[in-house]
């Protein structure tokens, strides 16, 4: 039994590009403690998003293992992985991944459908989150009717409303202005304080290192620096 919340062991990821094998990640070994905030830094294309996707089980590694709470998620059957994703893991995507034909309300609602919340409580619950983010009046608009910053906030609400114990955030402030970025980080930090979550944030450098318990730099698919 390991004491780590998340472990990556000899993680490798290859993919084919124009019939050539490209090593997206090579021999990644990471050990993340419970409730730590980790910054994965690196330039665009360094492999940060791939690593995040691997850590939350959205893609399969070419080799190596990802272990969360002592469970190797690469070997989990799909339905157990779905359970893990709905109960423990929250993902904030770089491109928000909001569904364009769903309203803001529905985009948030789909995150708690697998948790089987009582229908009567769902609306109140969603509205309370929207209020926290000052977006209550936007509940029945489509994502395309919102600003980029508002879209990112909706994506974050969709993650936080699940009450996950681990949050993987891919450039959560990458597309927004400084003020909104500050707001978003405050929300994340507050949530972490209130709920005690493990936070893994990929960034190309616009997030202050003071938020992090550990920082890893990724370059050309490898971890370049040891944690501080």
């Amino acid at each position: 039994m390991s004491d780590y919340k998340i472990e990556c062991i000899s993680l490798c990821m290859e993919y084919l590009s124009k019939n050539q094998r490209v090593n997206a990640l090579e021999d990644i070994n990471l050990h993340i403690n419970k409730n730590d905030t980790i910054l994965l830094k690196g330039r665009s294309g360094a492999g940060k998003s791939t690593l995040l996707n691997l850590m939350c089980g959205l893609i399969k590694p070419t080799s190596g293992k990802v272990i969360i709470d002592n469970i190797c998620i690469n070997e989990l059957p799909d339905d157990r992985l779905s359970n893990l994703l709905s109960e423990k893991i929250g993902i904030i995507f770089q491109s928000f991944n909001l569904l364009p034909t769903y309203t803001v309300y529905e985009n948030i609602e789909i995150a708690i459908v697998p948790k089987g919340f009582k229908v009567s409580l769902v609306k109140e619950y969603i509205m309370s989150y929207l209020e926290k983010f000052n977006l209550k009046d936007k509940a029945y608009l489509l994502p395309t009717e919102l600003s980029v910053g508002q879209q990112q906030k909706i994506a974050i609400i969709r993650t936080l409303i699940k009450q996950p114990s681990i949050i993987f955030a891919d450039e959560p402030t990458g597309s927004v202005d400084e003020e909104t970025a500050g707001e978003i980080l405050t929300h994340l930090v507050n949530f972490k304080k209130e709920n005690g979550v493990t936070l893994v944030i990929a960034t190309h450098g616009n997030i202050s290192e003071e938020f992090a318990d550990r920082i890893y730099t990724i370059e050309n698919g490898r971890i370049k620096t040891e944690p501080l």
Binding site: L58, I59, L85, S86, I91, N97, P114
Partner: protein
Amino acid sequence: MSGYALSTLFILLVLSVTLTNEKSSFGILKGTGTHFIIYIPTNTSCCVNCNNEDSKGSLVAEGVNTIMLTSDLIDSVKKIKGVRDAAPYLLYRLHESKYSADISLGGIDMNSIATTNNVCAKTNLVAGKFLSDKPDELVAEESFAMAHNLAVGDTLKAYGGRFLLAGIINSGIKPGKADVYAPIGNVRRILRDDLKCISPGFDMNIILVEVSDSRIQSQVISQLKDKMKYFTISSYNCYQPASEVMTIIEKGSTLLIVLIFIFLLIFTTKTQLTSLMERSREIGILKSLGWSNTRLCNQIILISLIQALIGVALGILTGLLIILLMNSNQIRLFNLVEFNFRIRVIPVLIALSLIGGLMAGILPIIKLYRTKAGDMINNYM
């Protein structure tokens, strides 16, 4: 959805024509050549009592002498699978010097479809009235009546008695055709009591047979030949081309329906797959939020079935509208076949469409299970 609607429409129209076909041309063909006669030929040229001058006639079938049969044979024939009806027939031929001709007398069972198709029926009447149970009434074939200048109401002196010509019929070409006809009970009485020609218990010399469907006629004949080896079976064989034509029509319609169903499956599966590709990002996002494959499968199947149901409803309504329009304007296929909407095809169409919907959902579900959420979001399917 349009695939389901189009396929339903085509199947509905094909079925509406096929069903009308079954009612009209198919029905006619089915009843073509479904009859034949059976008898046992013999070389004896007279009846039981050959010394009697009045009994110099003979029991015949198709120009040859026959022996008498017992009526229990009718039940044996009726028991053969595919036999719709069997009836006794008594055909007696006697030379009447008054008319300088051999006159054949047919004794018929008037309530039998086998008699109608093998000998004659009330519908063949061209003058007068058809037979009743009166003992002294006959009907004559039109050709016989004309040859001997007989008209309705005339008296025919023959078979040792006097008979009233009640009606004249034209039965066409039939295997059991005679010159004159009377109810079989009357003919039995004449032959038994007046002409002393048959013994009690022997009630007929020919069995008339009607088969339920011309396509099984040859099977019925084979079974009869196996069971009744001494019998001659005489059929006009017109059931064979009818049977072939029917098989072609039937197989053609089935093939068309199968082809349309295959088209439905390919089209809807392709549509579902395209829809899955288009929705792969959405499905990937849902998977990343913890939606299980089972929940997503249920959604795909549900959507597929709803599309199938809406499609089949649209197809049926459009088909019904087309059929109503064509019939109200008296538009017919090849100027012959009427489109006919049958309620009973609706469950078939719904079932076909739902099967199509289920099958169309299978490939997308396989894709769903085999693809990770991240690949779906990035469209690497």
